[in-house]
């Protein structure tokens, strides 16, 4: 019997109260009639099949009624309904969008097999924790370690691909045969390369990315076996990877075998590998770190010179996210949670106000026999319905916002795309929607259905609003405080952006078009061949009407931050690690084209050949550093293993980008003064043209000139120098747009909150206001009365929010480019915005209050 009674708890309470007794009685009768265990058992089966579905149906009936009632009652209050839905949508939308990016970058495991066992292994020396190991050291690691199931290596490549739709320059990775299997993602088509194919001299094979296969090979299955040329060598396509595979990053479009000849193992300083390992089952990060420390110590003993102090850094592959990006995403997610919190407090506040307005209606329903449980249920259904409508709209908002948010995700991660919404994100959105609806529907529902409020019928409109009013004030206060945190954080980032944008890059970017033509080193190994190409192309471009100057350089400023070489000076003790400079090989006219001022001496010129003395142009900081008291012209130093004589001094540029204040001094070397096939990575490939022409027509002419010079040379990275500088700050601009949007939403919501609170306050105090006016209060007094409430909350909110904002600013310090987290103008501006918003929010209620007609109000009571 107890069991049957328990079973009846499946029915809603209201139903139980009405019918449970009778149902129990019927059941008892049937139980008494049942003869024998079999019949009793069958009665129980029957009862289960009766109670469970019927209980469910009763719940559904109630839900249907409540929904119908909700639709009617919300339909009667379109202003409230619309506001609540928009508020919920903003909260859910912001949080969902932020979650979709944060989840993919920071939370979700990488899309590889058992990613928790994948680690990255770097070499480390004091001061540098992530250095690339040499093939020789890598081979020793392979031989000496026991913690790994497998250890693989790769290095980034950049090759000219001929055989697809157009000749093109593509990023790739040369990997050892065991690397891709370590990741555990099978190819979509064909196969991966094997150990026979990573031997020097084996026939070339290549695996394509899904994107490259689609773009350049039309997604045809017969691509397998097709021959392509990569930098003049023949390769056979053997496989295509699936679309979500990105390794080491999403820019990588081909994978080729990484081969080492015996020479590669000779020089332990020739370090260029990245190493990924799969840990043996059960091996912890601590264990593998200990083993690597041991192994690298032994290698150091065997090679004390090259491997002095060399150790290893091991971390999970999933922990590659740079500190700044991680901080940014966390800040973003935090900001979105702030928006959600504000939205929720706003919803709660709206619902409380509404339920107070409805006290009479609820009291009538109670009098008609609706139990407390039914009323709460009705109110929660209502808030859930609002939350669900808002949630749907919010997901739509989030979907339109994620591409912007995805720009905040670092691009150097093994993730294919960070901007898609999937079931996981939708489930998250559904969860926060329901939480929003329930949590902030329950509070007002409990409050209003509490006994005190059911006296609504008797008491008229004046009773029992003190408590909810205090609660609502507290909610609005919280909204303001949170908005201040967001406003100040965005403000600090705006100041940081301004500061960075004001940095002088050291060159003039307006009117300069740039592009990259990477020459294939197998055909252009002889320096003279390359020089002929540059001379022909540059002289033809310079002859174009409207072109002021044109030049080639190894890399344009800010596009490549490395290229740092050690320097030595005869007559000075070598100062390893300190004396270094950023080195570029350049053609004449580079300084003119980039607008870098020539301070002293001359530019490189066509006479700086291999038969002339090796020359160098250095930057001002270089000259200042090494010859502070003497004329630098004619001085000699050694770089790229060659003595060079200084022939000119030019202005400094921010090679490492606008944010780095410590760019190395710069050295420019004549393009002809390099041995055949030496330092191919530094062969000039970036073309810059200063002209008064528009980019499109100039580009057309330049393409023709390049095609005449070499029809197979790929043209890539076409952009203006201005765009390169802008790209420096574009991640920041994206951050700002997002945080700014969140701050805007927050302040808007807080405004709605203030407006709602004051409007409600005025409507419940109409009588008081009427009496005051009747007794001769001036309009100003009434105005003060209304605005004072809002102003008090604003002041308190700003004061508390300022503390939070300072804490948030400290947390964001790494992103602030030196702007102080206590930046006074930012705090003043935020406080000003809150002030304006408080005024705006108070405006309508205040106007309503001063327009109160005392006679009309008195009469209506």
């Amino acid at each position: 019997m107890g069991l049957y009674k328990a079973l009846l708890y499946l029915f809603p309470k209201s139903f139980r109260l009405e019918y449970a007794d009778e149902m129990r009685r019927i059941f008892t009768g049937r139980l008494a009639d049942a003869a024998g265990n079999a019949e009793v058992l069958s009665l129980w089966m029957e009862t289960l099949l009766d109670v469970i579905p019927n209980a469910l149906m009763v719940h559904l009936d109630i839900l249907r009624q409540d929904l119908r009632f909700t639709a009617r009652s919300l339909g009667r209050a379109p202003g409230f309904t619309l506001t609540a839905i928009v508020v919920a949508a903003l909260g859910v939308g912001a949080t969902t969008a932020a979650f979709s990016v944060t989840d993919r970058v920071l939370i979700r495991p990488l899309p590889f097999a058992q990613p928790e066992r994948l680690v990255k292994v770097w070499e480390s020396v004091p001061g540098y924790s992530k250095m690339e190991p040499s093939p020789a050291n890598y081979r020793d690691w392979l031989r000496m370690t026991r913690s790994f199931d497998a250890l693989g290596a790769y290095t980034g490549t950049s090759m000219n691909l001929i055989g697809g739709a157009d000749p093109m320059r593509i990023q790739g990775a040369a990997a050892t045969a065991n690397l891709l299997p370590i990741l555990g993602v099978p190819p979509l088509l064909g196969r991966l390369f094997n150990q026979e194919e990573e031997v020097q001299g084996a026939a070339g094979v290549v695996v394509l990315s899904y994107g490259l296969w689609q773009d350049s090979f039309g997604g045809r299955e017969d691509v397998l076996g097709q021959r392509v040329r990569l930098d003049e060598a023949a390769y056979t396509v053997i496989g295509v990877m699936p679309p979500q595979f990105a390794f080491p990053d999403r820019a990588t479009r081909i994978w080729t075998p990484l081969t080492f000849d015996e020479d590669a193992y000779q020089d332990r300083n020739n370090a260029y590998l990245r190493v990924v390992g799969r840990l043996k089952n059960g091996v912890t990060l601590g264990q593998v770190r200990a083993e690597m420390a041991l192994v690298t110590g032994q290698i150091e003993q065997q090679h004390p010179q090259e491997n002095s102090d060399h150790r290893a850094t091991v971390h999970f592959l999933g922990d590659e996210v740079p500190h700044q990006a991680r901080l940014l995403l966390l800040a973003l997610f935090g900001a979105s949670l702030c928006v959600l919190m504000i939205a929720c407090t706003n919803l709660a506040s709206l619902l409380i106000a509404r339920s107070l307005h409805r006290r009479k209606e609820l009291a009538v329903r109670t009098a008609l026999g609706a139990g407390r449980e039914r009323l709460i249920r009705q109110l929660i259904t209502e808030s859930l319905a609002l939350a669900v409508c808002g949630g749907l709209l919010g997901v739509a908002l989030a979907a339109s916002g994620t591409p912007l948010l995805a720009q905040l995700a670092p691009t150097n991660l093994p993730l294919a795309d960070t901007s898609q919404m999937d079931l996981r994100v939708l489930a998250f959105a559904a969860l926060i929607t329901v939480m929003t609806g329930v949590a902030f529907g329950v509070l007002p529902a409990l409050r209003v259905s509490g006994d005190g409020n059911l006296k609504g019928l008797r008491e008229g409109a004046r009773g029992g609003i003190g408590g909810p009013r205090k609660l609502r004030s507290a909610l609005v206060f919280a909204e303001i405080a949170i908005s201040v945190v967001l406003l100040v954080s965005s403000g600090l980032l705006v100041r940081a952006l301004w500061r960075i944008q004001q940095v002088d890059p050291g060159f003039r970017s307006a009117g300069v078009l740039t592009l990259r033509t990477s020459l294939s080193m197998s055909r252009y190994a002889p320096t003279e061949t390359r020089a002929r190409f540059y001379d022909q192309v540059l002289s033809e471009i310079r002859a174009l009407p409207g072109v002021a100057s044109a030049a080639y350089s190894s890399f344009l400023p800010m596009t490549m931050r490395g290229g740092i070489w050690p320097l030595t000076f005869s007559g000075r003790p070598p100062n390893e690690g300190e004396d270094k400079a950023s080195v570029r090989f350049v053609t004449p006219q580079l300084f003119e084209t980039l607008g870098v001022p020539l301070r002293q001496g001359r530019d490189v010129n066509g006479l700086d050949t291999r038969f002339a003395p090796a020359a160098a142009v250095v930057s001002e900081s270089f000259a200042r550093r090494y010859w502070p008291d003497n004329d630098p012209i004619g001085r000699i130093f050694n770089v790229t293993f060659q003595d060079r004589i200084v022939v000119g001094v030019v202005g400094d540029i921010r090679v490492r980008g606008l944010e780095r204040t410590d760019s190395e001094p710069q050295v420019y070397l004549p393009y002809q003064q390099v041995a055949d096939g030496a330092v191919p990575f530094y062969a000039p490939k970036d073309l810059a043209i200063r002209s008064s022409l528009d980019s499109a027509s100039l580009l057309k002419a330049v393409r023709e000139i390049l095609r005449r010079a070499d029809p197979e040379v790929p043209i890539s990275d076409v952009r203006t120098l201005g765009a390169i500088v802008e790209a420096e700050t574009s991640p920041r601009s994206a951050q700002l747009r997002v945080l700014g949007a969140f701050a805007l939403i927050a302040i808007l919501l807080a405004g709605i909150g203030i407006h709602g609170l004051l409007a409600f306050g005025v409507s419940t105090r109409l009588q008081e206001i009427a009496v005051r006016i009747a007794l001769g209060a001036a309009r100003g007094d009434i105005l003060r009365l209304v605005v004072r409430d809002g102003a008090q909350l604003a002041v308190a909110g700003v004061a508390v929010g300022a503390f939070g904002a300072y804490a948030a600013g400290r947390g964001l310090a790494a992103l602030l480019a030196g702007v102080s987290p206590a930046d006074l103008p930012t705090f003043m501006a935020a406080a000003g915005i809150v002030g304006v918003m408080t005024l705006l929010g108070s405006l309508l209620p205040a106007l309503r209050a001063v327009r109160v007609n005392p006679t009309a109000v008195m009469r209506s009571e």
Binding site: E18, E22, M23, R25, I26, G29, T47, D50, V58
Partner: protein, 120 residues
Amino acid sequence: MTHEPLDPRRFLPLPPATFHILLAVAEESRHGYAIIQDVETRTGGAVRLSAGTLYRSIQRMLEDGLIEEVRERPAPELDDERRRYYRISTLGADVARAEATRLTELVSFARAAGLAPERA
């Protein structure tokens, strides 16, 4: 709150349980267990309403206004005062009638198609 007069056909077709309950309370007021017994007798044991189905239907029929709870009780010697009694409402009678008409029509269609016995 005022209600427009409801069209009985709005409720058609009736769920079988609802129709049986309407028939059971058409002639006299009955309590729940009596309704179950009446339906069982009427159908020769073919239909045996379960308690859950019965009271869920009753709740719905009360809300829809097809039946009413009876305030005046039966003669004291017949009354089981712990029980609630229900009787058909005017709307309920209209609805039952409409359902019967609907069913009759269906049967006549079946008869015309030779799928039902001729009237005796």
